[in-house]
Structures are given as C-alpha cells and as structure tokens.
C-alpha cells in the first residue's frame, strides 16, 4: 500500500465516471478524464457548459454526485476543500478587501497544516510564513505592494496577488477559473505568457477554465472541450483544431469557425468526391481512412483557410468547385475573410490580404484543399474517421 502511495504521482487528477447534478439538472455527465501530473490542462467550453463545475468539484467546493474523483492516488470525494492540497484563482480574484496584500497572500497558510520536508503536517511558524510570502511576492513582482489594500491596486496587480496567494501554499495543483477575463486585452496577452512561464518554473499541474479558445490554444498542453456537461474531446491544441472529434468541437474551435454543409458521397475509394447543392468537392481522405459508401449523406467540414477562391474578376475561367456569391468582405489587415453565399449557406473563406479583394455580389468559385476536408456523420455529428 505504501509503495502505491509513493509511486503514484501526487498531482494527477483523475475523474472516473464523475456526474454532478443540481436537483434535476445534470451539470456534469459521466466525466472520464485524467489530468496528467504537471500538465497545463485547459477546460474549454461555452458558458454554462459545466466546466466551472468540474473545477469546483476538484476544489471541493461542490460535492460529487456520482463517480470517483482522485487527486494523486487519494479519493477526495469526501475530503474537505482545505485538505485537498489545491489552490484556486477566481475570476473575481476573491481577495479579502479588508486585508492588505501581505495578509491576503498569507491567508492560505494561517489555518491549514502543512508537511514541511516530509514531516508530519503542522501549522507553519510565523517566520516560515513570512519567508513564503516574501518568496511568492518576489516571484510575482509584488514586493513593493505588500502593505496596500486590494482597493488601492490595479486590475493586473490584483490578479497577481491572487496568483501569489495560490502559489504560496505550494499546492499539488492550481485551479484557475477564467483568471484573465477581467483584464484588458493587452494585459491579458502579457499575462498569458507569464502564466506559461510560471507553469514552466513551478512544474505544478494547472487546470484552467476558460471560454476563450485563444487562451486555450496559446497556453494549454492539452485542451478538454466540454459542452452540455459532457467531455467532447481532449487533446493537444493542434490535434483538437485539426481533427475535431465532432461537429460541436469543429464549430467551437477556430475563428471564423469551420464551414460545414451537407453533401452526398459521389465517388468511393481513397480519393473520392462528394456533391452538394453548390457543386462537387474532391476529397483526399488520407491513407488510413476510407470514405463511406457511395450515396451516403455526410456533413462536409472545411476550415476557412482551406478554401481558395478562383481568380475573381476574371472572365471565362474554368467553372469548377463551389459556386459562391460574395456577400461581405472583412478586412483584418494581415488577412481578409470573404463571406459568401453558397446555395443558401454561408461559407467563409480566409485568405491573405493581398491582391484585389472580390467585389460584393460577384460570383466566384471556391476550391477546397482536398486533404484538409473532414467528414461528419449527420446522424451522430461524429467525425467519420
């Protein structure tokens, strides 16, 4: 048994068939997920999808209705928040308004017991506490602000105090609930980098909740996409983006989102074709994948950057691909989004902002990069492998 305890990594978080319901409402449905020791895992999903509930269950702020939740090798379903050895950074920062920065950072150290150098858990001495506070404050550049109250700090400084309060207890895992959402855009981008840096320095597991895919993609080792209380997909950012496991993930990841339209498989084999109302699309499904039988209905998914417009503004060119009518052009400086109407569906094309933009109302033809086309089962929304 003891060997078990020692061998299992301490800051792994493991969900085994975890369900959380509030009365009739199921907020988290049969979640199976392993957060690997030391990784930066982002729980990503739209608001109300249950991601915050997942985090709060880890923190011990919500009970687990069903299933088993482990931190390290220990089942923590019935362990109180303070005894879980985790620290949380709240969206609102949750700083105590009547305490100065020093007291705020100290607060996790006052009432709890800590095991120092592998000894039996005990309360920390005043000098141990002040040493830790100094260290945490230095790590986050707060040394000169220790005597201020939160009201006298800027938003960014408050956020740092919240982080300092989290690291001071040296927890097995950090739980972060949209910690950057109250910062302005510039500060948010800076803090993203600092968080990644902090994670690298401390090597501690971070579970990070956000609805912002940019945050997820820039920081995460792995992303777990959640919708309607269910885990949709978990994987590295690239993997989730390139090979979304279902239509929800396909639509949720990426901005502008993936284009999808219904079509019928017209030619089988490795390189096949599908036809839809607007024309034919050639598909290169890759070596490992085979197309469904000819005549099957599928949902075709193409990212905006995988569409090419046939030289618009030219006359009498070949009329292949999807026939589209330009309804809007959004110019973003480094690229442009051409929004088209294709047989009644809106399809967005992203291209470098070079050359002449298509004119509104102009009819153009869209080519698809064949080896980037994804197919989904219209009945289950799952990706056809």
């Amino acid at each position: 048994m003891l060997a078990d305890v020692v061998s299992v990594s301490v800051s792994r978080v493991l969900f085994e068939d975890v369900t959380k319901s509030f009365g009739e409402v199921v907020a988290v449905d049969s979640l199976d997920l392993e957060v690997i020791d030391g990784e930066f895992l982002v729980l990503l999903g739209p608001s109300g999808c249950g991601k915050t509930t997942v985090l709060r269950m880890v923190a011990g702020l919500e009970t687990v209705t069903q299933g088993t939740l482990r931190i390290g090798n220990r089942v923590v379903n019935d362990v109180e928040a303070k005894d879980r050895d985790v620290a949380m950074v709240f969206q609102s920062y949750a700083l105590y308004p009547h305490m100065n920065v020093r007291k705020n950072i100290e607060s996790p150290l006052v009432a709890r017991h800590f095991s120092v150098d592998g000894g039996a858990p005990r309360k920390l001495t005043a000098s141990e506490r002040s040493q830790r506070i100094t260290q945490a404050a230095e790590t986050l550049g707060l040394a000169s602000l220790l005597d201020r109250k939160p009201a006298a700090l800027s938003g960014g400084q408050r956020q740092r105090v919240a982080l300092a309060r989290a690291i001071v207890s040296r927890p097995a895992a950090f739980l972060m609930d949209e910690p950057l959402s109250n910062l302005d855009a510039k500060l948010r981008a800076e803090t993203r980098l600092e968080l990644v840096e902090l994670h690298r320095k401390l090597g501690t597991t971070i579970i990070y909740v956000t609805h912002d895919q940019v945050e997820a993609m820039t920081m995460a080792d792995r992303i777990a996409v959640i919708s309607d209380g269910r885990l949709q997909q978990v994987g590295a950012a690239q993997e989730v983006y390139d090979r979304p496991s279902n239509l929800f993930v396909a639509h949720f990841m990426g901005s502008p989102p993936m284009n999808t339209f219904e079509a019928t498989v017209a030619g089988g084999g490795r390189e096949g074709e599908v036809t839809g109302a607007a024309g034919r699309v050639r598909i290169d499904a890759g070596p490992a994948i085979s197309l469904p039988p000819v005549g099957s209905r599928v949902v075709v998914g193409v990212r905006p950057e995988h569409l090419r417009s046939q030289g618009h503004g030219q006359q009498g060119r070949q009329q292949e691909g999807l026939r589209a009518r330009v309804s809007a052009v959004e110019w973003l400086g480094y690229e442009r989004h051409v929004i088209c109407d294709v047989a009644g569906r809106t399809i967005t094309l992203r291209e470098p902002a070079e050359g002449q933009a298509p004119n509104l109302g102009e009819e153009i033809y869209l080519d698809v990069v064949a080896n980037h086309v994804l197919l989904f089962d219209p009945a289950t929304s799952e990706r056809i492998p």
Partner: protein, 301 residues
C-alpha cells in the same frame, strides 16, 4: 461506479452528511440566544395576551375565570376603547402629514451644493438626538399653560381639552423632524443627477420638476415614513405621560395610555384585549406597507 475500497481514504475527513450535522448544531447554537429571548418576550406574551383576553381576574389577581370572547366583544365596543382609537387616530392626523411636509421642505432646501451646507444638514437632523422624553420636556418649556413661552396660545393650550392633543402632537412633529429629514434627504440624493438635468433640458421648471420628478422618485421613502410615523403615533405614550398625564378630562388618553394607565388586576383582561386591538392596527399598517412596496417594485422594474 467504482468502489473506493482499495484506495486509502483519510478517515478524519468529514463526510458531507457529517458536515450538515455540524451545520445544524452550529445553526442551533447561533440562533439559540435570540430564540430564547423571542420565545420568552414575544411569542409567549402573544399567547398570554390571548389567554388574558379570554379570562377575567378577580380584584386581587389571585383567581381568574373563563369568560370567552365576550370580553373581546365588550372591550372592543366599549366607549373607552373606541375613544382611545379615536384619540390615537386624531394624533396620527395631527402628526403624520405635518411632519412629512416639514421634513420634505427641510430636505429639499438642504439638498443643494452650497458652502457650509453640511452645517445646515446637521442642524436639520439634530432632533434625532432627542428622545421622546427630552422632546416632551422641551415642549413643556414652550407650551406649559402656567410657565411656557407659548403657554397662552389657545390653539396649542394643554389646559383645554379641545386643543391639548395638538400641543402634544407638536412635540412629536418636532422630535421626528430629524428622522424624516434624514430619510427624505437620502432619497433625494439617490436620484441620479442626469434625471434632473434631463428634466431641465425638457423645459421643466422647478415646481413642475418637483411634482413630476422628485416626488414620484422619493415616493418609496415617503411611503416608508408614512408607515413609521403612523406606527410611532399609535405608540405615543411618553409625551402624554410627561406633558398632560392623559388630561385634561381624558382628552389626551391615547390607546397606549389607556392600555397602561394603572389598572386593577380585574382590568387586566380588558388591557390585554386593547393591546390585541393595537396589534391588529399596527399589523394592518405594516402589511399595507408591504403591499404598496410590492406594487412599487413591479412599477419600478
């Protein structure tokens, strides 16, 4: 569901059921002191009040007999009780409208940006420092028929049954002025500046703005004051005790005075019934306040 049997579980960690038991125990401990006081001095007396109303005591208070609801019927229709209700209601009419108008006047005048306005605001609020007893002594000095500065003003004369209640009422109006002023001023200051600016741009003059904008917007505060001042008026006792002792000729015997003016044990039942009557009146006023406030919430939303 996997059973966590093979896994080490810290035994001393509190399960959620145990936590809820802990919450319950702590809750009872925290509510206990208040609950004891409320039971002894609010709920038990309420029961006793009904019991006393249903019984009549003998002269020495040593024995009582069941008289049922007849005592309620008799007392609530007695000239004594109705007289008390009439005098208290009159007292309400003397104190509430006048107090409200003066309070609004003071608040409107004091709600402006002027140097030193705080001094005036403190002066207008100052009467909250006076208890009913102190206010009564102050008005004793002013309107006592023998020695008062206004002792010979017949409109307020405490020696004339026709005017004594007005004199007593004036002390209440003055004493409540500070409270009324503070609450109306807070209501005025809660009105966003943009509303007054918008009204000015719309061409509202000061008077139209006062009636069309200010009064509707402070109506919740005014409503609250109507209720509080009415309840205060129905509870009037100390000012009667100090200024007139119920006289002359019983002209200032308010309901509360009638309930407590030294009673024989045989009249305990009567007093209890009157107190119940007072309770019903106070309750009615308070419930009316809740209903009106509810309407206000719907209106405001």
């Amino acid at each position: 569901m996997t059973k966590p049997l093979a896994v080490p579980v810290d035994e001393d960690h509190v399960r959620s059921r145990r936590r809820s038991i802990k919450d319950t125990m702590l809750g009872l401990a925290f509510l206990g002191p208040s609950a004891v006081i409320f039971t002894a001095f609010f709920f038990y007396p309420l029961y006793r009040l009904v019991w006393l109303g249903l019984h009549q005591q003998n002269r020495t208070g040593t024995r009582e007999r069941w008289v049922g609801f007849s005592q309620y019927a008799d007392t609530l229709t007695s000239a004594d009780f109705l007289d008390g209700v009439r005098i208290s209601a009159t007292y309400v009419l003397y104190t509430v409208p006048l107090g409200l108008v003066l309070g609004v006047l003071l608040a409107v005048v004091a709600d402006r940006k002027l140097r030193g306005i705080k001094v005036f605001q403190t002066i207008f609020a100052s009467t909250v420092a006076s208890s009913v007893a102190v206010a009564s002594v102050i008005f004793f000095v002013l309107i006592n028929p023998q020695v008062g500065y206004f002792g010979d003003v017949s409109f307020l004369s405490l020696s004339d049954p026709g005017s004594a209640l007005r004199g007593v009422a004036l002390s209440s109006v003055w004493q409540n002025l500070g409270l009324t002023f503070i609450i109306v001023l807070a209501g005025l200051q809660a009105i966003p500046a943009e509303i007054n600016e918008a009204a000015t741009l719309d061409g509202y003059g000061p008077f139209r703005r006062f009636w069309r904008i200010t009064i509707p917007l402070i109506s919740p505060s005014l409503m609250f004051l109507v209720v509080v001042l009415t309840v205060f008026a129905f509870q009037a006792y100390a000012q009667v005790d100090i200024l007139t002792g119920g006289g002359p000729a019983g002209a200032t015997e308010t309901l509360v005075w009638k309930i407590f003016s030294d009673k024989e044990p045989s009249q305990y039942g009567e007093g209890a019934v009157m107190a119940s009557g007072l309770f019903v009146i106070t309750l009615g006023v308070t419930l009316a306040q809740f209903r009106i406030l509810e309407k206000r919430v719907h209106y405001g939303a």
